[in-house]
Each structure stands twice: as structure tokens, then as C-alpha cells.
Symmetry: C2
Subunit: 438 residues, 2 copies
């Protein structure tokens, strides 16, 4: 949509009251943490935009005050001040489900448009909020809720509108990617990589949401809705932790020409949506293997256009703030042009499954004794599963012996059935680590 | 801009005349070659969209007729038929500057919006056509004019609207990328790779526009306008041919940890726009080095969000058609919402230069004799240029001896001055091949 917009011009100062085209839109920031203060910074530094920050709303707002915002910005702890004001666009960057959901609803009811970076909120009740916005002739934009600064939502929804997308997959969680990269590069155990990530601020004190895939799952839910028009509950998407991955798995993966990444994927086939967030082996020459540190990457495949890649900084105050400001500008543009979100999304609610058919990576840790491979092969054979290869790194302790079995293409559920029996065998030190090979 | 649009729904057939939301927009196709027929195919197959193909206009239209389009589509050779019809959106996919420019103007004057995939047209007179569209309360969209199916224009213009972009670079010409990949992979001479590309349909019978960088230059002109708001004439951007590259250059590049790609780049620094299309050395671990065959890749860097990557199929009927249909849908959405392109782009017209400061790759072919390096070093020294390294592949003929000199960071113009003197030396078999190392 190459509409060249005057609001991105770099010349001239803020133009107020000189006609419709240069109308200034009033913006309230709810939440003044990392993202909120980056948004404020961009709004202040890019004087040329048609946006004016009127309110900053935050708990204990006194300790948040900064000297680099215009003196006429109202600092408040009371969201009712925002609601009662003439502010036209409310930017929610405070996070969490409550009171956020309630506040966003009240903003829309009060005739204000909303920009949110809150993936949990949109994954949880995005459809309803979009419906409410439409009903009130307002907009709700959530471009920053997925992949931070990478413009995947506008790309999927506008840039690829002409295609019929059926598959999306990629790396949506920078924390997991950072931890996995660290294990890969430095050969450290998972726990060490996690501690390092926490020390550097790449992982939270409670990292569960990231490492168990709940964060990526919320993002995948949003992308499935935007790209595939599928309405699924985030909680119903299978998410598997990366915490079982260790340095030895990267050694084995490398021998297979692969590395390991946390992959979020959703694919429409007939009336089924295959979706999961899980660690997986990806080919070393795939773009996914090249994603470094906390970068994000999304691949979208369409019937007509084939594969499109979007990549960049998935997190961080500034990149996320760029996405927020882009959304504010989109609302301003739409308001200036006198439109609002028209139309009603027709969404599928397909049968959801995580039962992908792929090659499989099975990593065992066993107490060594004769007959182990025979025992495993017997069970696999009983389920009609053929072994593709067996790999064993030399020089490991007999009481804690890691080795690898790879399988050709089988459904995940079939393999899981066999593993259920296998995990009960007496020589197993811990349950088998099972990952798809993409 | 996460507006979930009803026109992408997959349920339900074409809905006509049952209220505003499901209004059908009439579309005329001007040009029925590879892209035109792909656009028609998507419009026909995706019955659900709110678009109806009314006209196909092409020279010698009788030989173009296909049986898979609805019987009520009007086939015509006469553009006046389109102008006189009720068609609301004219899709120009015939290419060339004339009569295209004339026809696009007449369509806009007649109150029709226009979608074009014509990079030469937009590079040549895009600003004027956008101005005319605005004046007539219509839109002109040109998302397919750059990078085919990769949604870079919507990404730059909407998705990254919140950032202040200052640098774009990437691979915008699939033909060059295919030829360079072939030389790299198979070690064949340039002429062989070009013939192969022509045989496979990746290069035209007259490949000048591609290999001399004129095609990429037109695309770079459009991207500079969209991303950097710089209005420059395509013809004023330096374009250097890839035809001097040979297999030996990939060997040397590899020794430097690099490969060679045709790179289009534009960077704003103060009041200067640094821009060029040229073969360049790129690091083997950079995403640019991984671009295969006819794929395209664009990296955009902003003050706030850092680097964002867009990649995918840059050419081909279907990917380009996806971009065209996305643009048609964008117009339909805008029309339904009662808006048009408002506002006036404020563009810079900065001083244009190709005088990038980079490391340099100088590949010489000489008739060997004592004192060559000394002669070269003397001239380079006279211009204040230090040699970084000298590489010479063993076992080459003395009468046609290739060797490499690399230089540290110097401006291209300084190096060119020295090379002007060097190229006149009696031992030079051909002019030095000079590329930046990125």
C-alpha cells in the first residue's frame, strides 16, 4: 500500500490547527516502562509527526517522571483522567491481563482508539476487542504484540493480502533463541545459559513463559488469526519446553547437519490446523539456523507467492516502540481519512492438532547394559516404526550414556505412543528427549 | 495495521449487492502476459474476494483469449473501452514507458484508481502520478514494482512508519543473483552463466537492464522515495555492471570470507544520499550471502528499531501477481472505507553521491614482469592509500596473471583516482576490477 504519508516527513515542525491535513492527534500512554518510555522518546524526538503526547498514566507515577517530556503532558495514576480527557488514541504498554482488559474496553467504549503491545491480551480476547472497536467505530491495533519491531502483522495482513496463506513458522521468542544460541556456541548446560540470560536481562527472573513456549504460543495464536484466519485459544496450542535441551543435543544435531531452535508453526490442511511451539531441529543452511541472539524470524507460505521472510529485532524497548508508533500512525491516517475498521472478519475455527508428520530426533540417556538397542527396536517395530540411524558419541559414562535414534517420517502421536512404553523401561535414566526434524 | 479484512475470508462465494460491506469492485487488466494472467487466475480462483474482473485489454487480444475466465469478461484491444466502462480499478501490467504513462494518466483523470507493477514507470514519474491520483481523489499503488511478491513497500511505509529509516540495502535483481550464484557454484565464466540463465528464462535475450544494474536502479529509486523520502532520478544513480566478474573473483572473495552479490544500497547521511547499484563483496555469514537463485532480500535500518529484513520471491508471475492483488485489495479497502490518498508527501532532494567509504577489492590481470607490485604500491602511496593484503593464486599463466589487492577504508573516489593512473600502466591486460567490501 504505497501511500506516501505526510506524517513521516522529516521537514518542518509540529503543525497544528492549520487545516485538516495537519491535524494533531492526542495520544495517552498507559504504562511507562521500557517500551512506554521508548514510545515517548520517539514521539518527542520526531517532532514532525502529527501526534501529541497528552498523558502518561502509571502506578506510582511520581517516581516515573522524566524531564525530557513537554511540560504540558499530564502525569497521572488514575486511568479515569485519560478516559475523561480529549485524548483520541490510548496506547496500552503496561502488560498483563488485568486491569488491562478492563481498561482497553473502557477506552473503546469511551470512543477512543487503542494501540496495544500486549500479546497475552490479544491472544486471550483479541476477537472480542476488535468487535467492540468496530461497534464503537474505533480501531484497535496490535502490531507490536508479535515480533516487536518486525512488521509481520502489516506484512501478512496488507502486503500479502493477495495471497492465500496456509503456513507460518518461525522463531518468535528471543529469550529461547538467545539461550539455545549460548548452549550451541559455548557448549554450556541449559541451566548455565539460562542464568547468563537472566544476568544480561534477556530472561526474566521467572522464565517459565519464555522457555516453556507460552509467550511464543500467544504470538502464534495472533499470527494464526491474522495470517490463516483461524480462531484458536492460545491455551489449546501444544507448547513444549526447551529446558530439556543440552549441549550434547547440539553435537548430535550438528552431525545431522542441523541445529536446534524453538520453532512456532501453524499450518492449515483441509479442515485441520496443525500448530505447536516446540524445540526442533532445523537444517544448518536454513534461514532459521542463522537467527542470532534475540532476533525473530517469520516465514509465511502462500498458495501463489511461495515463501516470504520477515526478520529483525523481536524485542527490546526501541524496536517494540517503533511498532507501537507505526500503529498509532496507522490509526491517525485512518482517522484523518475518515474511516474506521469496517467489515467483519470471517474466521475459521478448525480442528486443532499438534500431530505433525516429520522426521524425528530421539535422544536417550540410559544406564548401559547389553540389549538396549534391541529393546528399543522391538517396541518401535511393534508400532510400525523403522529406525533411520543410531548415533552414539564415544567416551561417555556408562551410567549416564547419551545416544541418538533418528526416525523417518511418522506422525508425532505414533512416536509418542512408542515413547510412552519406552520411557517405562528400567535402563532409562530420564524420559527420552523427542524433537521433530524440520 | 492489524485490520482483519473481510475480503480475505475463505468462506462464502462472491457477495454482490447485499449492502455496502460486500460491494464488488470492478477491475480491468491492461496487459495479459505472465503477470496479467496470474492476476486473473488469483481473482478467479479466490471467488471469495470482493473483486470482479470486467476487462482484459491487450494488443492482438484474440490470441490471448483463455477459456477459464468468466464469459462476461470483455476482451478488448482498445483502452478507450476500459476508460468508458464502469471499471473502478485499472491494473497496468503491460510494462514499458509508453503508451503506459499516457494510459495511466488517462485512467486517473477518468476517476479510476490504478495498480501498476511497472518499476520503470514509477521510477520515472511516480511523484507526478501520485500527485495526479491525489488530485482526482483516487489512488495509485505500486507494491509489485519492487521485489515482486515480497511486501517491502507496505512494510517500509506502514509497518516501519514509526521509525526514522536512514539506510536500505539488499538484492533487488533476481537475474544477477542467479548468474552470480551460478558462477560461484559451478566455477563457470560469466558468459556461460549468462547463456544458461537465458536458456532457463531467468535472463532476457537482451540482458543489459539486469546485468548493468538499470533494473535494480529503478527499484532503488522507488525504495529511496518510500523509505527515505528522497526524490532522485533513477538515471542519476550510479550503476555498475556485473559482467566483469569471473570465477576467479569468487575464489579470492572466498579467501576473504566473502562472496559477491549485486547490491543496491542507499543511505542518508546529513544532506547527502549515498546510493549505488554495484557488485560487492558481502560476508559469507551475512543474510545477503544466503540469498539463492532469483530470491530478493531487503534490509532496512532505522534510528530506533535497528535492522529489519524482508525476503522472498522477487520475480515470477505468481509472486508478482500476489503483490498486484494485495494492492487491488488495499484500494478496495480504502474505497470501501471512503478514503483516498490524502496528504502530500514531503520529500527531500538531497545531494546524490556514490562515494561510499568502504574496504576495497582490486583484482588485476597483468602480464607478469618484475616490479609490478612496486609500481602499484607507488601509485597507491602517492594517493595516501595503504595496501591491506595481496593475494595471488598459484599456477596461473604469466601472460594473464590474476592477483588481488585489498585496501582498508577509503572513499571510492580516492581509489578510482589511483586506479585511473594504474589502468594506464603497460603491464595491465585489462582495467582493474574494483568492488567495495561490505
Amino acid at each position: 500500500m504505497p501511500r506516501i504519508s505526510p506524517i513521516r516527513s522529516s521537514k518542518g515542525g509540529r503543525r497544528e490547527g492549520d487545516g485538516e491535513e495537519s491535524k494533531t492527534w492526542k495520544v495517552a500512554l498507559v504504562g511507562f516502562g521500557t517500551v512506554g518510555s521508548s514510545v515517548a522518546k520517539i514521539l518527542v524526538e520526531r517532532q514532525n509527526t502529527c501526534l501529541r503526547l497528552t498523558h502518561v498514566c502509571n502506578r506510582n507515577v511520581a517516581r516515573k517522571k522524566v524531564d525530557w517530556l513537554p511540560a504540558d503532558v499530564v502525569w497521572t495514576e488514575n486511568f479515569d483522567d485519560v478516559l475523561a480527557s480529549e485524548t483520541e488514541i490510548v496506547v496500552e504498554v503496561m502488560g498483563g491481563l488485568q486491569p488491562t482488559e478492563d481498561w482497553v474496553r473502557r477506552a473503546l467504549m469511551a470512543g477512543k482508539s487503542v494501540v496495544t503491545a500486549n500479546k497475552q491480551l490479544i491472544a486471550h480476547c483479541g476477537s472480542e476487542l476488535i468487535g467492540l472497536a468496530r461497534q464503537r467505530n474505533q480501531q484497535i491495533e496490535f502490531g507490536a504484540s508479535v515480533a516487536g519491531g518486525v512488521p509481520v502483522i502489516s506484512g501478512l495482513q496488507e502486503g500479502l493480502a493477495g495471497d492465500e496463506l496456509f503456513k507460518i513458522y518461525g522463531i518468535l521468542n528471543g529469550t529461547c533463541n538467545y539461550i539455545l544460541s549460548q548452549i550451541e556456541t559455548n557448549g554450556v548446560p541449559f541451566a548455565t545459559a539460562l542464568r547468563e540470560a537472566q544476568k544480561l536481562g534477556f530472561a526474566e527472573a521467572d522464565p517459565t513463559d519464555d522457555i516453556d513456549g507460552l509467550d511464543a504460543r500467544a504470538k502464534l495464536t495472533i499470527l494464526a488469526r491474522v495470517a490463516l484466519h483461524c480462531n484458536v485459544a492460545a491455551s489449546s496450542i501444544v507448547a513444549r519446553t526447551i529446558s530439556a535441551i543440552d549441549a550434547i543435543d547440539f553435537e548430535y544435531a550438528n552431525q545431522l547437519g542441523c541445529t536446534i531452535r524453538q520453532i512456532s508453526q501453524a499450518e492449515l490442511k483441509d479442515d485441520q490446523l496443525f500448530a505447536a511451539v516446540q524445540p526442533a531441529l532445523v537444517q544448518l543452511n536454513s534461514p532459521l539456523a542463522r537467527v542470532e541472539g534475540s532476533q525473530n524470524l517469520l516465514m509465511a507460505t502462500g498458495v501463489y507467492g511461495g515463501e516470504t521472510v520477515f526478520g529483525g529485532h523481536g524485542a527490546g524497548g526501541h524496536p517494540t516502540a517503533v511498532a507501537v508508533v507505526s500503529d498509532i500512525l496507522a490509526i491517525a491516517r485512518a482517522k484523518r481519512e475518515g474511516n474506521s475498521q469496517a467489515g467483519k472478519p470471517v474466521e475459521r475455527s478448525p480442528h486443532l492438532t499438534a500431530d505433525f508428520t516429520t522426521k524425528h530426533y530421539l535422544r536417550f540417556i540410559v544406564r548401559d547394559r547389553p540389549g538396549i538397542i534391541a529393546a528399543l527396536a522391538t517396541i518401535l517395530d511393534k508400532h510400525g516404526i523403522n529406525i533411520d540411524s543410531v548415533l552414539q558419541k564415544p567416551g561417555c559414562p556408562k551410567t549416564h550414556l547419551p545416544f541418538l535414534i533418528t526416525l523417518e517420517d511418522y506422525s508425532a502421536s505414533l512416536v509418542e505412543q512408542a515413547l510412552h512404553e519406552i520411557n517405562a523401561l528400567d535402563f532409562m535414566v530420564q524420559p527420552c528427549l523427542h524433537m521433530p526434524i524440520l
